[in-house]
């Protein structure tokens, strides 16, 4: 009861969690929700009906079932690659910001190189080079997302490392690792959480873009792959909107949910934002 009250108190967070929750639940319970196996072939190009809620695609697979199963891959890629990127970004950010000196210069130089190259071309290049597989996609997205996190965390760490409590812990004989682990990390966690949610949204979008361009894993179904097939097999040309609209909508709503959650985090950490939102 208490948790529910807290959730509804923050409307932004509530809507975000509900939106994302729908997709997460459908991903988890995909076999129970989907009326058909999304991989079995059948009659192609059927219009929506009671039998096939969103019709069938060019090889006769049920589009609604495809949509439900796609949530698995899309969310999986989004969360795993964002986790990897955040882990790497936080580790690099804390290390560089805490140690400073040449290490900081080298690490941030690397981050800058990744930052100045536009993400999508880099992702395309890397995934062509590495070949289409879901783990390569995850790796590639993580590689392009960590520098942003690292930069933000680093700048926060630089102020924290000069704070009184880090200094006094150092005086009391804390090792560098303990300082980073017990004193610096907990103080950047709110920032890490906000950055992570944002990274999930970006990763989701990047995965969709890559898959749409045909760089995705053809053995997996994701919303991006669905769009790709709808585009290349005539769905757009023939205006079969029940084929190309739903995956697009799913991506949009998912990102909207994540953005809501992120915004509610941000006004926790940044009270100025709250005042702007209240207006």
């Amino acid at each position: 009861m208490n948790i529910l009250k807290k959730l509804t108190a923050n409307k932004l967070l509530f809507f975000g969690v509900v939106l994302l929750g729908i997709f997460v639940l459908s991903a988890v319970f995909a076999p129970l929700i989907s009326p058909h196996d999304p991989w079995t072939y059948g009659q192609a190009f059927l219009h929506p009906s009671a039998q096939h809620l969103l019709g069938t695609n060019d090889v006769g697979q049920d589009i609604f079932s495809e949509l439900v199963y796609s949530a698995r891959v899309s969310l999986w890629v989004g969360f795993v690659s964002a986790s990897l990127a955040t882990l790497l970004g936080v580790a690099v950010g804390i290390w560089a910001g805490f140690r400073r000196g040449w290490l900081d210069n080298v690490l941030m130089g690397m981050a800058d190189i990744f930052l100045v190259i536009p993400a999508l071309p880099l992702v395309i290049l890397l995934s062509v080079y590495l070949g289409p597989s879901i783990w390569n996609i995850i790796l590639v997205i993580a590689l392009t997302l960590w520098p942003g996190t690292a930069r933000v965390i680093r700048s926060q760490v630089i102020t924290i490392r000069q704070s009184g409590y880090v200094e006094s812990a150092r005086i009391m004989g804390a090792s560098e690792f303990r300082l980073m682990w017990r004193h610096v990390l907990p103080n950047v966690l709110p920032l890490v959480a906000a950055k992570f949610i944002l990274a999930v949204a970006v990763a989701l979008l990047l995965e969709a873009s890559m898959s749409f361009l045909g760089l995705g894993d053809p053995s997996q179904k994701s919303w991006g792959m669905m769009l790709h097939y709808a585009f290349s097999r005539g769905g757009f040309v023939q205006n079969l909107y029940w084929w190309y609209l739903p995956p697009g909508l799913c991506i949009t709503l998912c990102i909207l949910g994540l953005t809501f959650i992120n915004m509610s985090f941000e006004d926790r950490t940044d009270p100025r934002l709250q005042r702007i939102l209240d207006r």
């Binding site: 009184g164 409590y165 812990a169 005086i171 004989g173 090792s175 303990r178």
Partner: protein, 322 residues
């Protein structure tokens, strides 16, 4: 009595865009075991740099020359790992600012636990801390328990001070350094703090950095007056207070006694920045008794009965050098 800490000819310099800052410039100091030493001196004379240098945390400052002997062990140029072993264990410091010295996200008990981890002494854990906090006047076991479960912001300044003191004392250090322990405290908390330190000095030797002369008088039998990176006078606190030898000490004592009435001739006297090198005595430009030699030659340290003073006034009168 055995010397616990001997600092000799310590030079700690900072390279800044404005030039070389000589924060500690030929500093000599010794502290006998069980005989608390107070250090006073104007703001910016290098007191805090001295404290941090003792712990090997002088960076970005550089130790140019000098030696710090602690229990007969040389601390200058000691590897970081060994310095880290000394910090908190043998030399403990009560930080200057109790309001920022505790991590706002960790409960007090957890932070004390951290110190135990640092010290590699899980055996003392919270048991020792409970007793210490209780000894430091935080009441019975019940209220101590309450404090351990609190976040720093839920405690008053005096309570935080006691927690920090307990953290510093937990390792039973040989030397406890208190950097301006009474600054920015109200009279009541100040007295409490002094009592805490008095209590602490039963277990360990104290080095107290302060502007608070009455506090130094209660805590420390020995007193050093610091000016421009050097200890210009050292002696028994009582005799130094009643009969200061160095012209700067005299001025300082006069200011202390003057209270609100500033009828002392302080014209032209300003805090010295420690930029650049100067021949002769740093205080010479402001010294009412300065003579020609004061501007040309660095004064040597002169030993009088129980005190030492760095001033040409005493070399001229044929006193023996240290």
């Amino acid at each position: 009595m055995k010397n616990l800490l001997v600092v000799s000819n310590l030079h700690v310099y900072f390279e800044t865009p404005a030039g070389l800052v000589r924060a500690n410039n030929g500093l000599n100091l010794h502290l006998e075991e069980g005989c608390n030493l107070g250090i006073m001196g104007e703001s910016g004379c290098g007191k805090t740099v001295l404290v941090y240098t003792l712990l090997g945390l002088q960076q970005p400052g550089k130790i140019i020359t000098g030696s710090i002997l602690f229990s007969g062990r040389e601390l200058v140029n000691l590897p970081e790992a060994e310095l880290n072993h000394i910090r908190g264990r043998q030399i403990a410091l009560i930080p200057q600012n109790q309001s920022t010295a505790l991590n706002p996200l960790l409960k007090v008990g957890e932070q004390i636990g951290e110190v135990c981890v640092n010290l590699n002494r899980p055996d003392i854990r919270l048991e020792g801390a409970r007793k210490l906090l209780s000894d430091l006047g935080l009441g019975d076991i019940h209220s101590v328990e309450h404090i351990l479960k609190s976040y720093p912001h839920q405690l008053s300044g005096g309570m935080r001070q006691r927690v920090l003191t307990a953290m510093a004392l937990l390792s039973e250090p040989d030397l406890l350094v208190a950097d301006e322990p009474t600054t920015a405290l109200d009279a009541n908390t100040r007295t409490t703090t002094l009592n805490i330190l008095k209590e602490a000095s039963k277990r360990t030797s104290l080095l107290v950095i302060s502007h608070d002369l009455p506090a130094l008088k209660t805590l420390c039998p020995k007193l050093g007056v610091m000016y421009a990176g050097r200890i210009v006078e050292y002696g028994d606190t009582l005799s130094l207070m009643s009969n200061p030898l160095h012209p700067y000490s005299r001025l300082l004592m006069k200011c202390q006694q003057a209270g609100d009435y500033l009828d002392i001739p302080l014209t032209g006297f300003e805090s010295r920045d420690l930029l650049g090198d100067n021949e002769g005595c740093s205080f010479a430009p402001f010294c009412p008794q300065a003579t020609g030699i004061c501007f040309k030659e660095l004064p040597p340290e002169v030993c009088l009965d129980n005190s030492r003073v760095v001033c040409h006034l005493y070399t001229q009168s044929g006193m023996k050098l240290c």
